[in-house]
Amino acid sequence: MTDQTRPPFRLNNSELWTGVLGIALGVFVIRSGLKLKLGTINDPGSGFMLFYIGLLMCAFAVTIILASVTEGGPTFGSRWEGASWGKPGAIIVILSAYAFALEPLGFLISTIPLMLLLLRVIDPVRWTLAIPLAVLAPVGVWWVLKRGLLIQLPSGMFEIG
């Protein structure tokens, strides 16, 4: 490719940054391998595989970076073009909150609000359907697991469930 046809180098090229992330992960894996000891070729240690996989990760990440520089690549913004990124973002926030609440509050108390939020916030379902579904689905699952399969779901500090 000549300089005239080569796409301009842009810092917001998403391919470039995923490659950089790949190198960072590779370096971390190499360091972990070295810490665990490589051993010798006729008696490989715990870090042997990690070390060489880390090297390969760096090599592949460099290839991705080189391709992003020579061939260009989509920007971060263009990855979400025409997509409503708010919806997956909201699900991630709701699920993160749920992850924190699950153990202390227990399955039933945390899952009913989770379902209600997912049904009403993301792509709203009418209340007359959302409320019964948000209550009946977790309670039904809890009942089947507890009575049918004898699986205990977290009951939390209130010991409900």
Binding site: L36, I53, I91, I151
Partner: protein, 502 residues
Amino acid sequence: MDVLVNVMHGFGVALQPVNILYCFIGVFIGTLVGVLPGIGPISAMSLLLPVTLSGTPESGIIMMAGIYYGSMYGGSTTSILVNIPGEAASVVTCIDGHQMAKQGRAGPALGISALGSFIAGTFALVMLMLVAPSLASVAIAFGPAEYASLMVLGLVVLTFLTQGSMAKALLMACIGIVLGLIGLDSITAQPRLTFGRIELIDGIGLVPVVMGLFGLGEVLLNTEQVIKRDIINAKITQLLPNKEDWKASAGPIGRGTILGFFLGILPGGGAVVASFASYALEKRLSKHPERFGHGAIEGVAGPEAANNAAAGGAFIPLMTLGIPPNVVMALLLGAFVIHGLQPGPLLITQNPGLFWGIVASMYIGNLMLLVLNLPLIGMWVKLLKLPYNVLFPLIILFTIIGVYCSSNNVFDVYVMIGFGVIGYFMRKFGYEPAPLVLAFVLGPLLENNLRKSLILSQGNLMTFIERPISAACLLLAVVLLIAPLLPALRRKREMVALDEGA
């Protein structure tokens, strides 16, 4: 004669009422997840992996296998009626299947799809019965070097066939290996990458990783798009194809079956590759290739037969070598391991009831699928009308439950949510999760065999070259790694590259 005796023994196992029930549950759930877009066999199998614990190994694995081949059948219904593939292997069926439906020929399209799938599935089973025992007897001679090289080949083939950049796919495979190595070193018992967390001592579970990457990741991706459904509302009549339909479809079904079966055996291959390859083959062989894309029945019959034959063929490397050729088989390997069984060359001799029972159950399952797919089409169509905003919270709920039940540990729910977010960003940036998952499963096995072969050969790397099977696998892997650098081969790869994951 031996085969006949074994098959009879297998039917003895498969026809036990509890196994028939599990087989029915498996094919029913498989058809259901195949029909529903946005949830595939991988999510369903990982969700139900803990359920297999409650029964015998036979019943659990019969159910898991049923989900896999059931989803291959069910996926075509959505493709034909809604123009959305229910699962990845049915992508090609959309092209001509939906066109046929628009022309008022949904019945024959669904009929030929179900009947072609049945023929191909049955052929694959007969071949599985004939090939697996002889391959298993050869595989007994495999040493750690052969296994290590075969796993390298499997990973390279999958990365070769994955959509987009091969460097990205290889990076994903490396990350998968690293994730698989988390926990105690199987040889020195030294903890690796556990960050002092006791939950990581046994490593990360397969279920939270798969459910996160494929289940939750897929949901996150689907919610940001408006899924348009072009459902065929006309009453579906005359499901059985007529004489002309059969005449046009016989060749494609035959070729698709053979092609699919052999592509299914290849490590890294599978139903998705088979369906694309069959479509390309039929279009090339057709006297009227211009009909393809406008409702050619051959474009439905060939790929549907191919993906079902591949689903059957994929059992061969798992059952005979203990190596899963794709992510679905990796989950099946998980089901074996949960029950303390190790698939491989000794499985057939040490657990004949299990092996032949699974094979026989597939015959029964294929028959059940014909019953489910032809008369119950109306029910599946109704199900397709369930809006995604009602469906996705339920998928998330079942994902959480499935992950929690697999280990009774809330930590795994955190891992699943984490991998769900990672899976979403991976897809957004063009990184496929399938190589990561297969490498996650194969990573510890690869390391173990690599280290064993180095210890046994006293550090002689030539051991991988001096052994013919190992050398052949490595040579093929090198060729595939170099291939994308050559423009002609690069174009070929782009033609067959697919999204294996959905």
